[in-house]
Symmetry: C2
Subunit: 306 residues, 2 copies
């Protein structure tokens, strides 16, 4: 089924203990759409870049089957830029520089061809932009998934509360879940979030896996234990992209299928961290994904009968 | 098969955000033996207490099928005492007071009836005491499991390295694994530990579950997401007790059976944190354990075929 992703397409400059990059391609929309491209063919992107954004990358997107009709290229403006430095434990990072550029006045225009999308993935951006997207769709998608971040929880809480009422699934990390609810226990935090609107809550715990709460049920997906995390940038978005891509492909948002979708998302995220930026998820084969998913099965199956 | 546990039997005074206790029963040997008692009937304990230790608790141990012939009661001496206060996140704690008392000169005497034990669990104590126990057993047990802590890694590293060469399984938490190996990645840390002696390494990650590394294979067991952690004291020892108790019961130390044993250990640990100290694991039924283990199956099964 058709997937619409709204998110950022950006330049990142990254520094990790393993090295540093000049401006490379990043952004939530980039990671989500690329990751989803391995699952769904009807893969539509709404985002904005400046005219400094390379056409070659847009061509790459298209080669991955991503429809970029909704990718606005603003003449005379510059692409969103973020630069950050990871600490040695790779679990925390400092922002060195943020240039909003085209994102400052992002108006998410939905091409006619994107109307009637079945699955809507609202990647991390301002809650007001996310709400505008929902309002501009003539028919409500079957499933709306929203990602957000600590910044919006702090400075745009009312807007966030407003858009949360409209979505089916919220995806946040553990710290964001705690910040949003003032609950340390993730079980309690998830229940509080469900009372805000989303019936389903996914809490990403990075190297510690992910939790799914829905319909009074809980599922835990492990993260693959890795020898090395080369660059964690985009791992959360790549996870979400695999998750929503798998749901769109299978057109099944039941609890059992969401569990499978989370395993696919986790597998995609485990690739993402192997190289800088989106390099690894630009270049994956179906066989590699299948092998990696099998590693998750081996990792967590324990052969006890209920 | 027969299990021998060597560890501490102690008094703890605990303070958590939920309340505080006077002196209650604690110690690694207490938690391990009680937890194992739900699985194996041939359950032998070596430890030392002072004559201030209540006979009623020793009776409780016996009622759980724990053989206390090896529990030395030292006249005129006092039982080991530890008091600690947990921070609000329950993941870190401060030691308020430690009184070594009888532990200062603990000589682990092995009763004749304990010779020929098949499974040996060396709970956290000084590496030299742990080594003495191994040397005093005339026949090497089928399986030797060792737990240790940050203190011994710091102040008794040579002794620890010496005893590590003699054991089959090391159980540590994530911070201890990193401290022991200077590796942040737990995959690399486990490989380093395996080079120190133990073929199998179990890394406990508290609320984030546990990892098993053995024979080039990796298994991840989730922790049950809990609404509330009332008191984490003893959860790690209770985990180990369930693990070794299940292995002793089934007399099978294959990788696949160790996976099941870890699930049982995790289930036991999830009970432990529900009340202060050992109260909850003093009072469990087989049905409660079965139900809890089924929750782990529900929590982590995702129905993807390899």
């Amino acid at each position: 089924m058709s997937l619409l992703t709204v998110g950022s397409v950006a330049f990142d400059a990254l520094e990790t203990p393993f090295g540093k990059t000049d401006k490379i391609i990043g952004g939530s929309g980039t990671y989500i759409a690329l990751s989803a491209s391995y699952f769904t063919k009807d893969n539509n992107l709404v985002a904005v870049v400046g005219d400094d954004f390379p056409q070659a990358t847009i061509d790459d997107f298209n080669q991955h089957g991503i429809n970029t009709e909704g990718l606005q290229v603003r003449a005379g403006e510059k692409t969103f830029f973020w630069s950050g430095k990871y600490h040695n434990d790779m679990n925390s990072r400092d922002t060195l520089e943020t240039q909003l550029n085209v994102l400052e006045h992002f108006d998410p225009i939905i091409p006619e061809a994107y109307q009637n999308c079945s699955y809507l993935m609202l990647g991390n951006s301002t809650p007001s932009v996310q709400k505008t997207v929902i309002e501009r769709l003539r028919n409500r998608p079957k499933l709306i998934v929203l990602d957000t971040m600590n910044l919006w929880i702090s400075i745009a809480n009312d807007d966030l509360m407003s858009v949360l009422k409209l979505v089916d699934i919220l995806v946040v990390n553990d710290e964001e879940a705690r910040q949003l609810t003032n609950e340390y226990s993730l079980v309690k935090a998830a229940a509080r979030i469900q009372a805000m609107g989303p019936k389903t809550v996914i809490i990403k715990k990075g190297e510690h896996g992910a939790l799914l709460f829905s319909e009074g049920r809980t599922f835990f997906a492990p993260a693959l234990p890795l020898e090395e995390v080369f660059d964690p940038t985009g791992a959360g978005d790549t996870f979400v992209g695999g998750f929503i891509g798998y749901l769109a492909k299978t057109d099944d948002a039941s609890f059992d299928n969401m569990k499978r979708a989370i395993i696919y998302g986790s597998a995609m995220a485990s690739f993402c961290v192997e190289k800088f930026g989106a390099e690894r998820i630009m270049n994956l084969t179906a066989d590699e994904i299948k092998t990696r998913v099998n590693e998750f099965i081996t990792l967590s199956a324990f052969g006890l009968e209920s």
